[in-house]
């Protein structure tokens, strides 16, 4: 009998229960990481002690490609970053280059841009609500949300032929004139949409289990949110009343009245309420916009070959996920010298490690859902 008696194994880090600390690998292939995010969770039993996010699985080197494409050629790449909200990516990029050129799109183009971007915000929030509720176990909201989102994608398809990566805008204005029944379609979608959001609320907001699973989970105070550079619904849920559409209006946002919903204690429940309210506000903007879409040209005086004078610009817009910024440096040639894209999902994800400390594994999934990250944008 091999008498190999080994000393009692040394524990890496003996925890409260004395049992070994488990490192749970929520791998890149996991039903609820909204894409290829890998999280190494250090668990003590069920409680999370620490975590480390490993990203980069979807890194396509968009910024390197930008340096070898002309300004117009790079526009479609921008849609592939946050593939759930392609229209607002395009808006950000086109406006940044227009600022670089020192021109501005005509009013009619700017109004149509606002309509399509707000519809895209509603679609992105619907997609978020569906998958977030699915992660926490409610199976039904997903199908209601996707039913509404389908209407919006139909409008995009009628307008520019594509549903997801739309490349709807051009630098200097719009490529396509608004098709005739655009107003009617948008109105047909927006009119009943308020009642639809009430439907989701009736399913979830007062639901004891939903409140139990989201209240007090993943708390981010206002100070921490600012320190971690969170933006969009994440920072507004923590109580910071800041929205780029109001603070530094771009496109035609200054023409419309809408509120900025904010939460109090920055937990998963507040972020849920803020995003629901944002959907209602976007609906109001759309309704105001389609009342009078001004007539006039849809394309500014921008030549075929764009050679912006050397210099740099940083232009940020309020994407559904947060502040989406473009820092473009031009050296006077037709190709941008450097394009840096500020990804709201990646920056919001930085607060993830602090938010999940002390929570259980089930909450980690809820917190990933509430940050509303899209890995295409995180990895670029």
């Amino acid at each position: 009998m091999a008498d190999e008696r080994i000393p009692f194994a040394t524990h890496a880090e003996s925890t409260v229960l004395g049992a070994d600390e488990i490192v749970l690998n929520m791998g890149p292939q996991h039903p609820s990481t909204h894409g290829v995010l890998r999280v190494k969770l250090r668990l003590d039993g069920e409680k999370v002690i620490g975590s480390e996010c490993v990203i980069g699985y979807l890194h396509r080197g968009v910024e390197k490609i930008a340096e070898h494409r002309s300004y117009q050629q790079f526009a479609p790449y921008v849609d592939r970053m946050d593939y759930v909200a392609a229209v607002s990516n395009g808006l950000g990029y086109c406006e940044a280059v227009e600022k670089l050129l020192g021109t501005e799109a005509p009013l009619r183009a700017r109004v149509i841009r606002v309509i399509l971007t707000e519809l895209q915000r509603i679609a992105s929030h619907l997609f978020w609500l569906g998958t977030h509720a699915l992660d926490i176990g409610a199976l039904t909201p997903l199908f209601y949300c996707l039913r509404e989102r389908e209407e919006i994608l139909k409008i995009f398809e009628k307008y520019c032929g594509a549903r997801l990566t739309t490349h709807a805008f051009r630098i200097g204005g719009l490529q396509y004139e608004a098709y005739d029944e655009l107003e009617k379609d948008v109105e047909r979608f927006c009119k009943p949409f308020d009642k639809r959001v009430d439907e989701y609320e009736s399913l979830l907001t007062e639901n004891r289990i939903w409140v139990g699973r989201t209240k007090g989970i993943g708390v981010l105070t206002a100070k921490e949110a600012i320190d971690y550079g969170a933006s969009g619904p994440v920072i507004r849920a923590s109580g910071v009343k800041w929205d780029i559409r109001k603070a530094m209006p771009y496109a035609a946002y200054d023409l419309y009245k809408f509120e900025i919903p904010t939460g109090q204690n920055g937990d998963t429940y507040d972020r849920y309420i803020v995003r629901l309210e944002e959907m209602r506000q976007s609906r109001l903007i759309c309704l105001q916009a389609i009342e009078n879409i001004p007539t006039g040209p849809i394309m500014g005086k921008v030549g075929k070959v764009l050679k912006p004078p050397p210099g740099e610009v940083y232009h940020a817009i309020e994407a559904p996920k947060g502040e989406l910024g473009y820092y473009i440096v031009s050296d006077g040639t037709t190709q941008p010298y450097r394009v840096r894209i500020r990804p709201p999902s990646l920056i919001n994800l930085e607060a993830f490690d602090k938010m999940i400390r002390g929570h259980l594994v089930a909450d980690v999934v809820a917190i990933i859902g509430t940050l509303d990250i899209v890995l295409g944008e995180v990895d670029r």
């Binding site: 021109t103 004078p309 610009v313 040639t333 920056i347 930085e350």
Partner: protein
């Protein structure tokens, strides 16, 4: 619009001098460009059309952004503020590399720029101090934006601002990953997007778009990367 050769040169031609020439507004235009720019003439926006003059003599750009913000910075830091100019209505301050941390602390506490929106880098291989480290920050109170720039050589270490804004942590890791700029005092400076053992820094201008770390690809993915 002939491809103005001189236009091509300025960034390369003034390695020694700080690239003051690069800022187009060097044409001495008045700072406040009319906000609703008149419909620019065909393809030739007036403001920045004038080909930039040969490198402007004085150290900070001729459009000395002399509003009170810059004055306060000058009193506080004096020579450390190398330049200040406006580009497309956005204020830009160039700061000495060594004092970046102090300037940032000052900006956050006194100037209320409490929200660092972005930290990135631009590679100018021809220049002696090769990298621009660019910090875009925003003040909720004053609803204002400011851009701090630092010039860093290829192997110079830039002080990390991770202590001032926690958000800089991953952004600095990305700049290190893409450019190879080492940030002094960063808790765990390692690659964020590329695999840890990857050789080479992709966003440098001398890293051609087709090159790949052949060794890593062959070893980990086991394929001859048939580029």
């Amino acid at each position: 619009m002939a491809n103005d050769p001189e236009d091509k040169q300025p960034p390369a031609s003034s390695p020694s001098e700080p690239p003051a020439a690069k800022p187009p507004a060097a044409a001495g235009e008045p700072v406040a460009k009319p906000p609703a720019a008149p419909v620019a003439p065909a393809a030739k926006p007036p403001a920045a059309a004038a080909p930039p003059k040969p490198p402007a003599p004085p150290k900070e750009g001729p459009v000395a952004l002399e509003n009170d913000l810059v004055k306060r910075y000058r009193e506080k830091f004096g020579p450390a503020i190398l330049e200040a100019w406006v580009d497309r209505k956005q204020a830009i301050l160039v700061v000495a590399r060594e004092l970046l941390a102090e300037v940032c602390v000052y900006s956050r506490d006194d100037e209320k720029f409490d929200w660092l929106s972005d930290l990135t880098a631009v590679d100018w291989p021809k220049r002696e101090k090769r990298f621009d480290i660019v910090l875009n920050m925003y003040s909720f109170e004053k609803n204002e934006k400011l851009r701090l720039k630092v010039y860093a050589g290829a192997d110079e270490r830039v002080p990390s601002v991770q202590g001032i804004w926690a958000t800089a942590n991953w952004m600095e890791r990305e700049v290190y990953d893409m450019f190879g700029v080492v940030f002094e005092g960063h808790p765990d400076l390692k690659r964020i997007l590329l695999p840890d053992e990857w050789q080479g820094y992709p966003l440098r201008k001398d890293y051609d778009i087709l090159t790949q770390d052949q060794a890593w690809v062959r070893e980990n993915l086991g394929i001859e990367s048939g580029q």
